[in-house]
């Protein structure tokens, strides 16, 4: 793939990719770092992209692996006493912040695959078939993960409202 083509496609994906990583990692700075790392990795292997899947799916797959590695490393470091990770949010009003923290907590309570699949759907805008390729799962499994995730979120968020 030529460089200009790569950058053009990258610009089309940057919004959804950043939104996805921010929600997945819960921190905008870490999401930005993960995104840059993923872009560099994708750039290095762009000649290996053979068009068997969509560019967006391929890029998201790389980004998922990068994010997962970073989150595992962070967990490992926090185990050795580097302290709990700080969440950095940038919201306007207190009410908005409360709502978003509720959502973030509820999302973090989901199993990893359910959370990843759901965020790929909502923020990445990928279809079930694309998510199945990005996560190396069957479409049925992707659908089940997303449905179960939404069911859990509905229960948790409805309970909070009581």
């Amino acid at each position: 793939m030529k460089g200009e083509e790569f950058v053009r496609r990258l610009k089309e994906c940057q919004g959804p990719l950043y939104s996805f990583l921010t929600r997945l990692m819960g921190d905008q700075e870490e999401a930005r770092e993960a995104m840059q790392t993923a872009i560099l990795k994708a750039w290095e292997s762009k000649n290996g992209f053979q068009g068997r899947s969509q560019f967006k799916t391929w890029l998201f797959r790389i980004a998922i692996n990068v994010a997962m590695d970073m989150m595992r490393e962070k967990k490992r470091l926090s185990f050795f006493g580097n302290g709990p990770p700080e969440q950095s949010y940038s919201w306007d009003s207190l009410q908005q912040r409360d709502e978003r923290m509720r959502i973030q907590r509820a999302l973090e309570a989901l199993p990893e695959r359910q959370r990843t699949a759901l965020l790929l759907k909502i923020y990445g805008g990928l279809r079930y078939s694309e998510i199945s390729k990005a996560m190396d799962l069957t479409e049925g499994a992707v659908k089940a993960h997303i449905h179960n995730a939404l069911e859990k979120l509905r229960e948790v968020l409805s309970r909070d409202d009581l």
């Binding site: 460089g3 200009e4 950058v7 990258l10 610009k11 940057q14 919004g15 950043y18 939104s19 921010t22 929600r23 905008q28 999401a31 930005r32 995104m35 840059q36 872009i39 560099l40 750039w43 919201w91 908005q96 709502e99 978003r100 509720r102 959502i103 999302l107 759907k121 909502i122 923020y123 279809r127 079930y128 659908k143 997303i146 449905h147 939404l150 979120l153 509905r154 968020l157 409805s158």
Partner: protein, 173 residues
């Protein structure tokens, strides 16, 4: 469609993964079933909360990150000339090739328009539409579907007062 069938399909529809026919059948069920409408509203609310917080663009300098020189932007005057010329050309082509009888009759736009609008309604509006369709609360959609040989969405269209379509197969009773 039973309430049990509805749940998974409702989520697919809310996530943009359901086809038109499925959304039509779901819409018909939702018109009848208050419990499923309530559930739909809850899922809608969850999705709204999740989607509400979408971080702004990251502002990454891709060219700088990848060590590539920035492209010079196209001069503005080219856009000021090219866009109107292309637009005029397209307009002339459209006028030249489109004949009045080639346009879709308005009735063919109704099913998708009506059902897309219905599907996007909030809970209160669903209730209002349902009560308008059957002011005495006795709308028998199953009966309508059983009696008619028309496809489901044409039945719904008839029920909401739109023009019936000519059936593609089978005789109308």
């Amino acid at each position: 469609m039973t309430c049990r069938d509805v749940q998974g399909r409702m989520l697919d529809a809310l996530l943009g993964e359901a086809g038109l026919r499925e959304r039509i059948l779901l819409g018909i069920h939702l018109l009848k079933c208050k419990a499923c409408r309530r559930e739909r509203k809850q899922y809608w609310e969850v999705l709204r909360m999740i989607r509400a917080d979408s971080p702004g663009p990251p502002g990454v300098d891709f060219e700088g990150l990848l060590g590539r020189p920035q492209k010079r932007p196209t001069p503005l005057w080219i856009w000021k000339v090219a866009v109107p010329v292309c637009a005029l050309g397209l307009l002339m082509l459209t006028l030249w090739t489109t004949k009045p009888q080639d346009q879709l009759p308005p009735s063919l736009l109704h099913p998708t328009t009506v059902l897309e609008v219905l599907w996007g309604l909030d809970d209160g509006t669903w209730e209002r539409v349902a009560s308008e369709l059957a002011p005495e609360g006795n709308l028998d959609i199953d009966g309508l579907l059983a009696e008619s040989s028309l496809p489901g969405y044409e039945v719904l269209l008839t029920a909401v007062g739109g023009p019936p379509q000519s059936s593609t197969g089978g005789d109308r009773r």
